[in-house]
């Protein structure tokens, strides 16, 4: 390909991806040059309220009526027949099932939270609870893809990739988009991939399927060679590459490879520190629930997320693993998942707040869909993209409010409905981007995260 010389803008857009900014160093997403990505030259489109995003993905679909969407009528009508038609293609029967958990109002705002999430409840005055979310996709695959890419059936760039494409990274030694313990099923890497955007914008994955494990980046170190041996190699390699470049006289490909090699080496020394959670004080680790069996894993994920955004990563997703899918065993399942995530999430909010970072960090909590208020089996709930709850915090979003409503049983979003496209539009808006203007031309047309849809939910913007 011809990126060795100046490329036409269109060509650059389509393929050479690699040689423009924010893009140059793809994969690990390092932007070194100041030249912005094509299609993003006017960025930001307006004054940003958030500089980064942490998306806490509750994979499997937590139940809205058991967490944030308080429905006394559901309790009152427990066991009765649903008085309106249920959604199609589900296994639940139209019999109402009340929440086994008690709800209570919290904070000055008096927001309702169930006893499942006592720690998050303490921060209700910082939370914006969108109770009227709806999506497309009755199965996990479709809904997970919808939540992550804005498409339920096609291969599209993920939200994080768009954000990285639009804004690049704040730290040239780190990737701009990291996905912590992403699911390997339900689309797997698709959900943090870049599709037709330059490779630079796909996430670097750390851990998998809800498990943080060793928390490392592939091939970040070499355990066979001593540091001096490797630097000796590197010296030779540089000389050999310089020869190649000199002989070629002018070649941006060789130049790019040389630069990325140097960055790789820099990252090799910088990244391990960021990934090392033991550098955090004990009390903070404790606050995140690290060291406690139930919360250790998710606590470490959340703390790592904070360390990454603090170091300049633009978009961090933290996944629970596909654990929230309680078609049966609702009681034990949701208890266990809440126990594992509630304290770490609250600790993350507190930590960001105490560092003054919550103001410009948009935190998003939610699943790919919610669950039916009607029963599946005897103690379960089926998938419900028709109405569910997503919680936002920070990043210029109003705290202490609940937005939109589902019907009296928490089934369908009915008032101030917020589609996933609207959520995405709003997220980009907070980051200073107009979702209708952030485009990439591919296969003959301009693509957007929100396709031809999406409205910014201005009412929740502070």
């Amino acid at each position: 390909m011809s990126s060795r010389h100046q490329v036409s803008r269109r060509l650059a857009l389509r393929r050479s991806a690699g040689s423009l900014a924010g893009i140059t160093l793809g994969g690990m997403g390092m932007a070194t040059s100041a030249e912005p990505a094509v299609g993003t030259q006017q960025l930001p489109h307006h004054m940003p309220r958030a500089r980064r995003v942490i998306f806490l993905f509750m994979h499997g679909g937590p139940s809205q009526v058991d967490t944030f969407d308080y429905k006394p009528q559901l309790t009152a009508d427990d066991g009765r027949k649903l008085p309106f038609p249920e959604a199609s293609n589900i296994d639940a029967v139209p019999k109402l099932l009340k929440s086994p958990w008690r709800f209570r109002q919290h904070g000055e705002s008096g927001g309702w939270v169930s006893e499942l999430l006592p720690h998050m409840a303490k921060y209700i005055d910082d939370l914006c609870v969108i109770r009227s979310m709806y999506s497309r996709g009755q199965s996990h695959g479709q809904a997970v893809s919808m939540m992550h890419t804005g498409s339920d059936n096609l291969v599209r760039p993920s939200v994080g990739a768009w954000v990285s494409y639009g804004l690049g990274t704040e730290n040239p030694d780190l990737p701009s988009f990291v996905s912590i313990s992403p699911a390997s099923g339900h689309g797997g890497p698709r959900n943090y991939g870049c599709a037709f955007l330059p490779t630079a914008h796909q996430a670097t994955a750390i851990g998998s399927s809800g498990k943080l494990g060793e928390a490392t980046i592939p091939h970040l170190g070499n355990d066979r060679l001593a540091a001096d041996e490797q630097s000796e190699q590197l010296k030779l390699l540089k000389a050999i590459n310089q020869d190649h470049l000199a002989k070629a006289e002018r070649d941006s490909q060789i130049q790019g490879a040389i630069e990325s090699l140097e960055l790789a080496f820099r990252m090799q020394s910088a990244a391990p520190d960021i990934l090392d959670l033991s550098r955090e004080p004990d009390h903070l680790q404790h606050a995140y629930g690290i060291g406690k069996k139930e919360t250790d894993n998710f606590g470490r994920q959340c703390l790592l997320a904070r360390r990454l955004v603090e170091a300049g990563v633009r978009y961090v997703e933290v996944s629970t693993g596909n654990v929230w899918d309680q078609h049966s065993n609702l009681y034990n399942g949701h208890e266990k998942n809440s126990l594992a995530t509630d304290q770490p999430v609250a600790a993350l909010l507190a930590d960001l707040k105490s560092r003054g970072m919550l103001d410009d960090t948009l935190v998003v909590w939610g699943g790919e869909f919610g669950r039916t208020p009607i029963v599946q089996g005897s103690n379960g709930r089926d998938h419900n993209p028709q109405g569910f709850t997503t919680v936002l915090a920070g990043g210029g979003i109003k705290g202490g409010i609940a937005y939109g409503n589902t019907d009296e049983y928490g089934y369908y979003a009915v008032e101030d409905r917020v589609h996933v496209h609207d959520l995405h539009a709003t997220m980009l808006h907070q980051l200073g981007m107009d979702h209708t203007k952030l485009t990439c031309r591919y296969a003959g047309r301009d693509f957007r995260l929100t396709d031809v849809y999406g409205n910014v939910v201005h009412d929740i913007v502070s």
Partner: protein
Amino acid sequence: MREKLRQCKSIGFGVFCIVVTCSSVCGADDTEGAVFFETRIRPVLVEHCYSCHSAQAKEVKGSLLVDSARGLLHGGDSGTALVAGEPGESLLIEALRYEGLEMPPSKRLPEGVISDFAQWVAMGAPDPRTDDITHGVVRTIDIEQGRNFWAFQPVADSKPPSDAAASVAAKSSIDAFVDDRLVQARLRPAPPADSATIVRRIYFDLTGLPPSPRDLRAYTEDASPALYAAMVDRLLQSPQFGVHWGRHWLDVARYADSNGGDFNATFHNAWKYRDYVVAAMNNDKPFDRFIREQIAGDLLPFKSDAQRSEQVIATGFLMVGTKMLSERDKIKLQMDVVDEQINTVGAAFMGMTLGCARCHDHKFDPIPTKDYYALAGIFRSTRTLEGESQKYVSTWLRTALPVASDHAAAVKQYSSKLKELEACLQSEDKRLAKLKKNSTVDKRLIVDDAAAKLTGAWKSSTLTPRFIGKSYIHDERKGKGEKSVEFSWTPPKSSVYEVRLSYTSGSTRARNVPVRVKHDGGTTTVTLDQTKAPPLGKTFAAVGRFWFDVAQAASVTVSNAGTEGFVIVDAVQFAEVDDLGRLVASDEEVLRQQSAAELTKQNEAVQSLKQQLKQLKTNAPPELPEAIAAGELPRVSDCEICIRGEHHNRGEKVPRGFLQVATTADVQIDSNQSGRRELADWIAAAEHPLTSRVIVNRVWSHLLGEGIVRSVDNFGELGERPTHPQLLDHLAARFVTSAGEHTVQGAAGFGWSLKSLIREIVLSQAYLRSCQYDDASWHSDPENRLLWNAHRRRLPAESLRDAMLKISGTLDLSAGGSPVQGAGTLVRSNSADDEGYNAEETLCRSLYLPIIRNELPSILTVFNFADPDLVVGQRAATNVPAQALLLLNSPFVMDRADQTAEWLCADKSKTVRYLIDQTYRVVLSRSATAEEFERAAKFLKISKPGRTIEAEDKAGTVSSSELISTRVSRLVHVLFASTEFRMLN
């Protein structure tokens, strides 16, 4: 506000001016006003208004249509909808603001949207929609005009320019065309590449592998055009040619061994399609045939089973795309699969992006929605999906491949025998399980004879069925009054228990067997008549009910005192009785017991069946082969237009057909078939304007680094224009002309042979040029569109991996077979605990690695492997740190370096000087320069390069523990990571 409006108007005005100046380039759609309309207004109209105010509405409300510019201007029952430039006077805005009319009635639109509308009206309501809408089908595209676009024009062969030919002797027609442009542009072509560069280039380009030092020497020592041509011909015949060029096609065919998407199901048979592609390349299957087989192989006539198999397997092309198998709306799923197939066929063969036309007429290319649904009818009549693998999760068609009749008969016999045996085993197993369950002896409540204390000689027997445990005992009708059996028992709790004795009855038995029970209240003796069958479950006879205290040991003693017949003793049972005198457990439960003999017998029967089954399976005939292949649906039908791509919103039916813009003849499609055969014929026709150009261009781009049309997958309006249109057409015309015949301009035909085309290209001077830089040329043509030198290219991921393997001497060249044998229905589950798919590390060529979507081998993805979810005609070329990290730190690379060093240093009588040179020749396919030699020697810590390896190792100049091979390994490692190794000069 007024000020703002005026501003807006002036913007609108400015926009108008822009239209005039650039409409020829961008088309009228591309103005700011139109863009505003397309991005802010139209989507809202579509989403919120069309359901009541469009031609597609079930019932048009208020006679207002907003799906055309005219409709919107004209207004409806309430009058004119808008006054351009005057939002204040426009009913539309009033309605949106909920002032008077309230539209849309469901909910007021957000303020931002309403102000967009106001701004748009203020701008003069620019509306690029020029169509008048009739029933559903929007016709805005002028097909006739569309045919004027270069790509839809018939391929026109032209004579190679002759002036340029004069400048260089004995050139191919390719050079005539290329040089002509260079001469015109006053560019001087770079000199030919040196012979070592040529060898490396041609080996990688034709086989994806580096030359061996011997290959290198054979050519570099005696380079000549004849020798070069011979080398090319040899490489074209190498089986590795198909591996390399097959992979190029698999990129386009978005090949994978699993579904990916939401439900990563294993494509157990996709590899057969992969191997078909490799074989097609190696056998130089005519490309038109290749097209027909992939689209409609199952419908083509065949002369043999082998041919039938091959053709059926070929349709895997249509099948291996990713599908949202768990989509619960199966109609949507079907239309999504159809869409995926249309997109793939469109891009792969015709370089057309057809997906756009699913929802609306193509914005840029002359492809109306109607054409999309004409194709959709064909694919919707094709069987791709078949059944479900679990609830809601669809699966795909598996087609049986033809087999020899004796094989089929053997399999049939085998499977019926298998079925029979399995059924038999199942029922016997069930019986055994039941027996086992029934024979469970509750040790707390039953005391078997085996646990009893015997006095005198008792004989064990299993002669009469229905006993507890392994056997029962009898007194042999001897020693009357001398023998007794004592059962001791401790009650689990204090209660009343019914004491029962188990015995096997018969006419020879004693009639008055004394049974003495020692219980809490004392001792009670009862006699039993053993000639009579025990009444309880034919096993037990009740002795009586007694209170037993938990603290006190109880016993039951059976003796033969005073008896005449056989005294039988088997077991004693204690059945708990509640206060009301009812048995605590049900009768059946209490009576659970069975004959051990029966159990043993049953066990043996089951074991024998299992043995037979094992035997049968060991000698099973080979499985009947299946393929992931397309078929026909029984009901063939035209497809209705899905309005705005919504599958539930159906418009009129469109007869099945092809792209009108590339069709001249009438379309005839068999009403009993899907139409894939006709579609394949249409695409594979010599006169199709796109097919030959697209494939010729693909081949060109693989060899020259850029296509003549640089956007290899997009020949539409938004694609690039050909840099050498005459050359492209010249090659396309020759490509479709039969071998042995000539084009109208007298050039020899290639007969759809890819190998002939490739040969023609690699023998040209254009291909053989060096990458040498030239400042003047660069300033004149920085993108090297005119090919004044050779594009420096990246080695594809596979070549990097395969080259390292080959250089290390460990590459396994064996071909084919399943990469996913043993994988289950799902390559990996969707659960949180899933560890993922781990492919065994193999040393085969990369083409044969399992291509598991979402689990691609990282060594491939890091180096820009083609995303198997998309049609990829040209891979990206990124520079990411992940590549450097992998090359520097991956054990795979270091292992290869170790192995390379090992064999390089094997002959210790060689000098170090030779070793260094050989290292460069092996890894970079060239000798080391003097400077490189010095540098390498320094790195190896060698001071006397004339010494042998052995002498150096002994002298220990490196260090006491390090042999030269260790350092050589590090040198090879560095060379593997070098930019030169990763690229083709």
